[in-house]
Symmetry: C2
Subunit: 160 residues, 2 copies
């Protein structure tokens, strides 16, 4: 998994704490976490395409959450950044080499290896779908009740 | 996830069907699935280090399963090939940029983003640990009862 998921989740958390429909320029978001601006922008655009954040153009433009944090799951963000493909990619090696001689009827059912790997992966996706950005906000605020206020102050002060 | 996991799982399945303590040379395993021999050997060596297969040197040497298929889980194979690190790698970006100004006490507890991602990943690992090579053999044999015999015949005939 690329570091884009970490960047996207932390950006969403920050946008959730900014709240009230304010847009935050990518330069501010990048400065806040000391991330490369162009590459962060690429991740944010992926979140826009997935309907997780929305962007406003112009001088006072930027990014804000497109929906309630309780309706943004970890799976939404992971899928937006990493794409829809499975982590385990079956290349049907059972049909290669010696398998190329086997009759097609041998491959009527999905490969047992891929099926087992994908079953386990569905457990991961279900767990990702069960956690929301609102849950992360609550956990972070339990750990540090002043976290949202501190984040807003530091975001304002962040040097672009 | 690299393709090494798919190669390793199919190689283990084949070794399980060969059974009876026979060793299979890497050249045969590579020919069976039309895989590059040197790179497959690298994956097999990782399985040896993890105690999943054992290797016998010499002309009649090769690889065989080191333990019962019911005692080899998908997690064993994934961990052997991919290493022990988490799929989601937390780089503590909360401490970078604006976070560098925050007091250490703000970071006493683990990051809520990383905790949530790792919790979901544990669900995946639990599911991987719950499936064994014996389960995959059974599923493959339900789909094609002659699969083990056909695999052994094709392995014998595989041109090195």
């Amino acid at each position: 998994m690329g570091e884009g998921v970490e960047w996207a989740l932390h950006s969403c958390l920050l946008l959730a704490w900014v709240g009230d429909g304010s847009s935050v320029p990518v330069a501010k978001l990048a400065a806040f976490h000391a991330l490369p601006r162009a590459y962060l922008n690429k991740q944010l655009q992926a979140l826009v395409r997935a309907g997780i954040v929305s962007s406003t153009p112009g001088v006072r433009g930027g990014f804000r959450l497109a929906r309630d944090p309780a309706r943004i799951t970890l799976l939404d963000v992971v899928s937006a950044i990493e794409g829809p493909q499975a982590v385990f990619r079956c290349t049907e090696i059972r049909r290669r080499g010696a398998g190329a001689q086997a009759p097609d009827s041998d491959f009527r059912l999905p490969c047992a290896v891929a099926s087992a790997m994908h079953r386990a992966e569905r457990a991961w996706r279900r767990a990702l779908a069960a956690e929301t950005l609102a849950d992360i906000m609550q956990a972070a605020e339990r750990a540090g009740p002043s976290a949202p206020r501190a984040a807003r102050t530091r975001l304002e002060q962040a040097q672009i």
